[in-house]
């Protein structure tokens, strides 16, 4: 019981110190301003007054926000967090910090949680800011969409953080960690519709395989879930989404789109922590 209390204490302390350090980094403020500024620019340019395939008002703004998030967030999470463990190892910060009564698990998950909060809170505030500003300007606020998108963003960030922390734990150098993260991201982007369609047409894969490949790609799951409430004709979704939503119900897919990335991130986080605490740390 006492040991467990100490673990929690070191997790909390590592999380705190990591947050303090990140709050002083230019990366964090650039990232926060990017999302906050993006929402402001969308309002200023009148995106809420435009309409594309049924998206209008705040819904239109939120969908655009999520599409931008899908492009920026995964690579941002990967690049900024993939160095956290391996970077501390290379700079000898880890040797010193782990000469203190800090548990390996507390160190790993403390960093994980701090990165999660620092990545999620700015995008959540930007989304919430859009909803609040919309309600002040007499726009209908789609709260169901707001809730869904908040959950999807949290799930996607958690997923890529888990992957990133895993890479950071096993990589031998920062360069290798960054390269691996970048290649992974390219692979996931390529396996959105582009390669899936190629496989479908040229290799004559059956639809089930295409759906399977789409469903294991967290980016594809996010992309499909973002549009799932809006596009009954599935015209803007792309081929993979079309196949996916033609096979499973929307409700089931939304549940999957939130739980699967969290489970995937949790699994990679667990593996990263296991590797971290069982191998030499320096």
């Amino acid at each position: 019981m006492q040991l467990q209390k100490l673990t929690h204490s070191s997790l909390f302390q590592i999380m705190n110190t990591d947050i303090f350090q990140s709050l002083r980094s230019k990366w964090f403020w650039t990232y926060s301003l990017l999302f906050g500024g993006f929402v402001a620019v969308m309002f200023a340019t009148g995106i809420t007054e435009s309409q594309i395939i049924g998206f209008v008002g705040l819904s239109r703004l939120m969908v655009t926000f999520m599409q931008v998030s899908m492009v920026i967030l995964p690579i941002y999470v990967l690049i900024t967090t993939v160095r956290s463990v391996v970077g501390d190892r290379e700079s000898n910060v880890m040797e010193y910090m782990l000469s203190l009564p800090v548990s390996f698990t507390g160190y790993f998950w403390g960093k994980f949680l701090s990165k999660f909060l620092l990545t999620y809170i700015p995008v959540f505030i930007a989304l919430l800011g859009a909803a609040v500003w919309g309600s002040f300007t007499n726009l209908d606020v789609p709260w169901d969409l707001f809730m869904l998108y908040s959950a999807l963003l949290a799930a996607m960030i958690f997923c890529f953080l888990g992957i990133s922390m895993f890479i950071s734990s096993v990589a031998h150098s920062q360069d290798l960690a960054i390269s691996t993260a970048f290649v992974l991201w390219l692979l996931l982007v390529a396996f959105l519709d582009l390669i899936l369609m190629g496989l479908l047409l040229k290799m004559r894969l059956d639809a089930g395989t295409v759906i399977g490949l789409g469903m294991i790609n967290p980016l594809q799951v996010f992309r499909t879930a973002v549009l799932v409430l809006f596009d009954p004709e599935l015209t803007v979704m792309g081929a993979a989404s079309y196949f996916i939503l033609d096979t499973v119900s929307r409700e089931l897919f939304i549940f999957f789109a939130i739980t699967y990335p969290i489970a995937l991130g949790g699994l990679f986080g667990w593996m990263g922590n296991y590797f971290f605490k069982t191998k030499d740390i320096i």
Partner: protein, 222 residues
């Protein structure tokens, strides 16, 4: 068990550590007792830092290594409550001095006043540097702060890896006087290249070469 093994704070038998087929510690057997003040000497690559990292629970190893009767990998946190450590090179920690002290206070459950006292003696005014990130302090200031963190705590083992490397002569003198006055029942292991500097401080000299102990001498007072 012999009497020496019974009172050993650190008990090592057949300890080996290998990195990619390169044996850095080779079948090492030794006991370190609570009244030992050890000069750990040897050339670069002799295995001194690797031994310290094994004791700190940072490396896996083969053989037996017990610190206060516990395995440093399995009971790392409990053991580290009782170990003060000063690294050879201060790490580039990005926390400010204030944040670092707060962190230390909470993690080690030691009042910050204990750290201030030692650092003042070493000629470092912590409060004047509160807002500065640790990595932006000069080499000497960083070393003084890390020494204050290690000596400000009441621990059973002090592991000091070249602690005086970045210190000016005056601070070096003060450090050694603090080490002399530190609780006599604390095991102290000082890794150093300058034997002349620490000879008055230690009562045992251990020399390592190629991962083995090649000399283990008790120093008798003149």
């Amino acid at each position: 068990m012999t009497e020496s093994e019974n009172r050993a704070v650190i008990h090592i038998r057949q300890l080996s550590k290998t990195f990619k087929q390169q044996c850095v510690i080779d079948q090492l057997s030794v006991d370190f007792n609570s009244d030992d003040r050890i000069a750990l000497i040897g050339q670069n690559g002799a295995g001194k830092t690797t031994l310290i990292r094994c004791i700190l629970g940072q490396y896996n190893y083969e053989g037996v290594l017990e610190v206060m009767g516990m395995n440093p990998r399995k009971s790392r946190k409990l053991i580290l409550q009782e170990i003060g450590f000063v690294p050879q090179t201060p790490p580039p920690i990005k926390l400010t001095v204030r944040e670092l002290i707060n962190f230390f206070e909470k993690i080690t459950k030691t009042p910050a006043d204990e750290f201030y006292k030692i650092s003042n003696d070493l000629g470092l005014d912590i409060k004047q540097n509160f807002g500065k990130p640790f990595y932006k302090l000069s080499g000497g200031m960083k070393q003084k702060l890390l020494i204050s963190f290690a000596l400000g705590r009441k621990v059973k083992v002090l592991l000091l890896d070249e602690p005086s490397a970045n210190l000016d002569p005056q601070a070096r003198e003060i450090l050694f006087s603090h080490l002399k006055a530190y609780a006599p029942n604390t095991l102290m292991i000082l890794s150093s290249h300058r034997m002349d500097e620490i000879k008055d401080l230690v009562n045992r000299v251990i020399e390592m070469d190629l991962g083995k102990i090649v000399l283990d001498n008790i120093v008798t007072e003149k």
